[in-house]
């Protein structure tokens, strides 16, 4: 018998914890029934709350980029969306300064037109994509994800984009492609802090192929129904909601398919503190930040207690199986 202790970092729900398909589908039928008026207008509005609660208001700052409601499991959280102002003034984007207020002040120099993304490495269809073609590759969807930073804070952000898997399928990776590497823009003319040696530029991130193919992994072009602001990684970035924020590279210029695990920027900078996987995990502390709790930006006021961090940032049901049997303390 194969015993998987909880210490291996992966506890399955017992079969008794899982709601049988018939029952939860029954619940949906009931809600539908209520929403269509059978149970009265008052109850219908309660049932419709799900749809109403997450109507994201456009800030009206940049060009509109609407996204259809996503059908991907876990793609739309019901939590309160963080203020656009906080999401655009509190950023880690070291190419524009190491203080979190720096990118909002400095990123206006980034030139996002023209923009190309090179696809290279172990693929059948290597190609330099013009941004205009890349954005049209698949239908834009709105995904409301939690974003958990390794520093112990979190946000809820309505992104607009499509599953990276759509692009990967299009470029046809070869059988020996095991990892996908994301190389971000490093232009000393438009990025004032490339002179600092905080990071070995360009900033590089990577995922295992199955992680890259996961439908939640989003190739992102916008947020809050508009195109990305520069400080948030315009014109195209990655968003991997179950990993710490730094895994989601900004302003991508190259996507490379490889057979070896790439050396990512933070692993190169401090391998003992940042692992390749960097899945959100309340049980594995970073030496400088406890990962057990987090502060939700704009919501948890000065005096509020911090909230508990969830395994895989709350996406365990969707992504947990990819790490079955792995020692997540070792592969942190």
């Amino acid at each position: 018998m194969l015993i998987k202790p909880n210490a291996s970092g992966f506890g399955h729900p017992g079969s008794s914890d899982i709601t049988p398909q018939g029952i939860y589908q029954g619940r949906r039928e009931l809600i539908k029934l209520m929403a269509t008026g059978a149970a009265g207008v008052a109850v219908a509005s309660w049932a419709g709350r799900e749809a109403l609660a997450q109507s994201v208001t456009k800030p009206g700052k940049l060009a509109a980029l609407p996204g259809a409601k996503s059908a991907v499991a876990g793609a739309v959280t019901m939590e309160k969306v963080t203020d656009y102002k906080d999401v655009t003034t509190y950023n880690n984007f070291y190419e524009f300064g190491t203080d979190k207020s720096d990118p909002a002040k400095n990123a206006h120099t980034l030139v996002t037109k023209p923009w190309t993304v090179v696809i290279e490495g172990l693929v059948k269809q290597p190609k330099t994509w013009a941004f205009e073609d890349l954005i049209k590759l698949s239908a834009q969807e709105e995904r409301i994800y939690r974003m958990r930073c390794v520093e112990g804070w979190s946000m809820v952000i309505p992104w607009v984009g499509y599953s990276l898997a759509e692009l990967i399928k299009k470029v046809e990776p070869l059988g020996n492609a095991k990892y996908v590497e994301f190389i971000t823009q490093a232009d000393p003319k438009t990025m004032p802090f490339l002179g600092s040696r905080v990071i070995d530029w360009p900033y590089v991130e990577a995922l295992r192929m199955d992680e890259a193919m996961h439908p939640l992994t989003l190739l992102t072009f916008g947020m809050y129904g508009e195109v990305l602001p520069n400080q948030n990684g315009a014109p195209v970035r990655l968003v991997v909601p179950w990993k710490y924020g730094f895994k989601s590279g900004k302003s991508l210029v190259k996507i490379r398919f490889t057979d070896k695990e790439p050396r990512t920027a933070w692993v190169k900078a401090a391998a003992s503190e940042y692992g390749f996987y960097s899945n959100v995990n309340p049980n594995v502390d970073h030496p400088r930040w406890s990962q057990a709790t987090e502060r939700r930006i704009g919501e948890d006021g000065l005096l509020a207690k911090k909230r508990k961090t969830l395994m895989f940032n709350g996406y365990e049901a969707q992504v947990g199986q990819m790490y079955a049997g792995m020692d997540l303390k070792k592969f942190f």
Partner: protein
């Protein structure tokens, strides 16, 4: 010279300096109520009070060299007050952390001090500062005797080292050392000056005296 002397000995000099030293704190309190602390107010409060602690350590260490170099002994009148402001800012720093980060959960704080080395180092610096703050009035000096009092207050060198290490390890997580090196360089400069004074007094002075004797 006379003007400078008058200014420093003026009865209002100390209260004015006191008020100036409180300005960073007042500005922070204003930002709390004006909602100007940014997206993460707790982080801003904790970091800013920590930075001001380090700055006041730099200021207080600069008093002696400044006194000697500028030949203005009256400056020493302010040293103890400046030292107490180091303690004031470290207490606000510790309180901000305990309150806004830890919700005054004593058990959590103890666990945090034990598990995170950079918190331990910062806490050790605070603990060492406490006897210094507690003995910064005249009765304490008289009770201890100047020699022992001075010896105790030499702890400030250990404390500034621990403070720097605390800041260094905090920033090490982000590989971002520019500011750490700035503070370290400034404090190192002040220590080198002291070392040089020490060498002059202990080794060169006897040598000079001996030579003087020989030539006589």
């Amino acid at each position: 010279m006379i003007f400078r002397q008058k200014l420093l000995l003026h009865p209002a000099a100390k209260p004015v300096l006191f008020a100036i030293c409180l300005l960073p704190f007042a500005w922070l309190v204003y930002r709390v109520f004006a909602n100007q602390l940014g997206a993460n107010p707790a982080e801003t409060l904790i970091r800013t009070t920590g930075e001001w602690t380090l700055r006041f350590i730099c200021i207080v260490l600069a008093v002696t060299p400044l006194t000697v170099i500028s030949n203005t002994p009256m400056l020493l009148r302010f040293r103890r007050m400046l030292g107490l402001f180091v303690y004031f800012y470290v207490v606000t720093h510790l309180l901000s952390y305990s309150w806004f980060d830890m919700g005054f959960d004593v058990l959590e704080i103890a666990k945090d001090i034990a598990t995170r080395t950079f918190i331990l180092v910062g806490f050790a610096a605070f603990v060492l500062l406490t006897p210094l703050a507690a003995t910064s009035f005249n009765t304490a000096i008289r009770a201890m005797g100047l020699k022992r009092w001075r010896l105790l207050h030499q702890l400030v060198y250990v404390i500034s080292g621990l403070g720097l290490l605390h800041f260094f390890w905090m920033r090490a997580g982000k590989n971002d050392f520019a500011e750490v090196f700035m503070y370290a360089a400034f404090i190192a400069l002040l220590l080198v000056w002291r070392l040089q004074q020490f060498i002059k007094k202990k080794w060169l002075q006897p040598f000079m005296n001996a030579r003087h004797q020989l030539l006589k």
